[in-house]
Symmetry: D2
């Protein structure tokens, strides 16, 4: 799907409208069809709310069909047969196309156990998650009853849809579907922002190998030019952010021990609010450091 403006969607014919938004909800163009009548929309928010309202008022069978229209997570057969482009990109963003054997087995177990109990696939908005948190949430949801899980599935489907709308439709307003992870290094030895510190953000995994999320270097203000994660939800999960402070102080001829007491400083933390702003700063001297959840 190529990006559209809200004005275009408000002005075009119904068929074009439906074609443009057919896969906002996976393989379910009926939602766009019914929402078309509510045009024109004052904003992207109103467009999304109108589509969501169609889902909410749909009868049981249609809601169940919507749920069943979704693919399994990380299912090789389905992936080989082809997913919607949206599902494919989403699953890849989580790394589901490059799982370790242990991870693959875990996801297969999840899909099978869930489908066996409920008769529909385990659905989660993977852009809001890491592999660990997908598996952790599964453990929490599996004991639920079918009614609760239908509701949970619809919620996740709406989260997926909101991200697809945000991606597809440009308007004056934005849906609140993105978060941000940022850092700041303050050199409390010299009382200045620490410029030129190399840092690396890793996503941790219980079952597989850590995954590099990004590398960056602090600028003159001790920050990174871009957020560590931004313009998307910050996936729920565990991370390690490592700062090369040994090199930084050595380049400034700060006296230290040999080897330096502090060299690579890892901060290990979890993300719990994908749409929030999480700030993880570092206050550092060659002999001490501190961090905290900032805002």
């Amino acid at each position: 799907m190529s990006q559209k403006t809200l004005s275009e969607l408000n002005a075009c014919g119904k068929d074009d409208f439906v074609a443009a938004l057919a896969n906002i909800f996976e393989y379910s163009p009926w939602i766009a069809e019914q929402a078309a009548a509510a045009r024109p929309f004052a904003g992207v928010r109103q467009l999304f709310d109108a589509m969501k309202a169609e889902v909410d008022r749909a009868p049981f069978e249609l809601r169940l069909a919507l749920i069943k229209a979704h693919p399994d997570l990380a299912n090789k057969t389905q992936r080989a047969a082809g997913l919607t482009a949206e599902s494919d990109a989403e699953q890849n963003s989580l790394g589901l196309d490059r799982l370790s054997d242990a991870e693959y087995e875990a996801f297969e177990r999840v899909n099978n156990a869930y489908r066996a109990k409920f008769g529909f696939p385990y659905i989660v908005s993977v852009r809001r998650h890491t592999k660990d948190s997908v598996l952790r949430d599964f453990e929490r949801r599996l004991p639920n009853d079918a009614k609760t899980e239908m509701q949970k599935s619809i919620e996740e489907i709406c989260r997926i849809a909101a991200l697809r709308v945000d991606h597809l439709v440009a308007g004056d307003d934005r849906l609140q579907v993105h978060g941000r992870l940022s850092t700041h290094v303050l050199d409390t030895h010299s009382g200045r922002p620490a410029a030129g510190i190399a840092l690396e953000l890793i996503e941790l995994s219980e079952l597989g190998v850590p995954r590099l999320v990004t590398r960056a270097t602090t600028n003159a203000d001790g920050r990174t030019d871009q957020p560590l994660i931004g313009g998307r939800p910050v996936p729920i999960g565990r991370y390690e952010l490592t700062f090369s402070v040994g090199k930084y102080f050595a380049e400034r001829q700060v006296p230290t021990s040999d080897p330096p007491f502090l060299d690579q400083i890892p901060l290990r933390f979890s993300v719990s609010e994908p749409e929030g702003h999480l700030h993880v700063p570092l206050l550092v001297t060659p002999w001490s450091y501190a961090t905290y959840r900032g805002s």
Copy 2:
């Protein structure tokens, strides 16, 4: 060698004295023989100084022979043929009996390059080192000239000897050959020492896998009952000390995020003074922490 008191060594016959101290300096009983004349020794310090003085005043050939009497590090052939019990225990303390392939190759390269240049083995007091620091020191020492390296070797041999004397001879005084690594966890959320925090000390390795040094749990005073490393030199090298703070705060019903912002907190630091006291405390809330090199 079984432990002796200084009184016994002062009182016994010369042959017994030499037999007891024959391997303080590897395969070099002549040092004990010559030092015997200086008996009685007022303290362990005087005994060690007397033996060291014999080494210092020995002619070039004898000093060279002393150096050559030492085994290569981690040499499988020599280990198979048998080391002195002392060398064997020392090398094992460094983990030289269980190297990864990459580490083994690194040590073999070190031994060969060093021996090829100087004609004698690369000697280092392994109880003061980790594998990483042994290899790092080698890189620094290899460019030296032979005279410098003979002196360095004698210094290391005397450090080895001091540790062997400390181990073997009990007296009223002790040689200053031991250091200490300690920690302390202060819960600044409740304003109390953090009791019951599980922690783990790992020695890091550039080439092999991390090695578990110790596990412990903090006591009512937020400390460990025993130092993390004590009663021995603290090996020069890189370490990671990890604290299970997520579990600690969860057990105290402290409100936090899900997953908790902080769960396992790793502190990564280096030891540079094996005979010093290094204190690495943690000040922690569910949302912040700080550490510093204490004393």
Copy 3:
């Protein structure tokens, strides 16, 4: 009263025993007289407990008389007429002999209001208090009923007595009547204890001028040779501990701003447990500092 050993008190005649302990409870030698029969005491603790037991089992009238035997706080007429040496020293330790006008009026108001309501003087173990906390406790106690206040008074009297016993009687054991206030300065700019830092402890007062408690300079370990307060209860109240860090860093030629960002660092805190150990450390660079309630 001159100091006695427990052995002496166990061995001497009853008259001497009573004479020695006559004022442990203010003007109430009958307590020592009745406790004498329980001799010999295994420890100072047992001696105190025996005297306290006599108070606890005394009839109402005797308990009331004990309470009434106490002087008002800071009453100039009574002070002119003469207090027991013990009361005089205790009141002076709180500074009741050198009150500001506002403080004097506040204490007079307290005495009069309390005596008007209950018919006996307001009693508090002044060695455990500052002027502020004496007045604060009064505000809390005045609304109580007479029965509660008789009990409170007896508790305070026993605290006074315990301190007098500790002062007077030397034995193998000590009553737990002393606390400690200590500090530690760690220079996290250089990674060492901060030696030679001048510091000053002030007791704050709502109504009068701050009172200097002690001045000290940190030693090589970053601590003071003596506790800031020790060998006595640490008075409940508000304090300010000020560290001259500007001079310290200037003497070490550490680059800073002009004037230095940090010069005199005040830490303002309260003491709430007179018999506890309160540790208030400072972690400091020229550009940052931190403190916490340590132990």
Copy 4:
């Protein structure tokens, strides 16, 4: 002088231009007169630079006359006789109209000693200073020779002029004559910005009483709605910023001691760069806090 736009000043007649800018340099309209020829100015910066260039190229006598046109600091006789409105406002901003006796004497001593040595008044851009720093700078400048002090005086006069230009002339650009002092309170007990913390900024004085600069309460982001000092130079000097954290934690029912270990937290620091941005945050729990020079 009422505010003008740069366009107006570029377009108006020469007399109006001179009238508008006559007191940018104290009682020295000749500077505006000569600068008028350089119109039109592309920006406020260029206007100021043109005026400054006239001062720089003026002959010795004119520069001396410019210096002598300035009033003494805090001189009661001159103030009674009337200063330019600009000088009056500037001196009042420093509090020179309400000095303690000791301060008044200090300023009188400064004026007299300086004038006696150099034959012209002691000039300093008072908006960039506190009383303490004015007196401190005097102590540093008095030993200088006359040539150096003429230069220093001209520099200060240009700083005064720049602030007057910034105040008087509105254009698309601004001179860099303002700084900012800000704070931020992070509650690391709950992992959130601390909202609703009352705080107070005091300017300290060696000779007089502390002066209240501002009171504020932190907003939902833990910041103050306005900078503590902004829209002007931040006066060089010593400050104390006090946070009412005891009340904050009490209102949130956080368990603490009685009295609370921390209640009023004072941060005492100095400002050295009036045109810079100084950020002084507080990280706080009921049992610990930290601050640092941020940016």
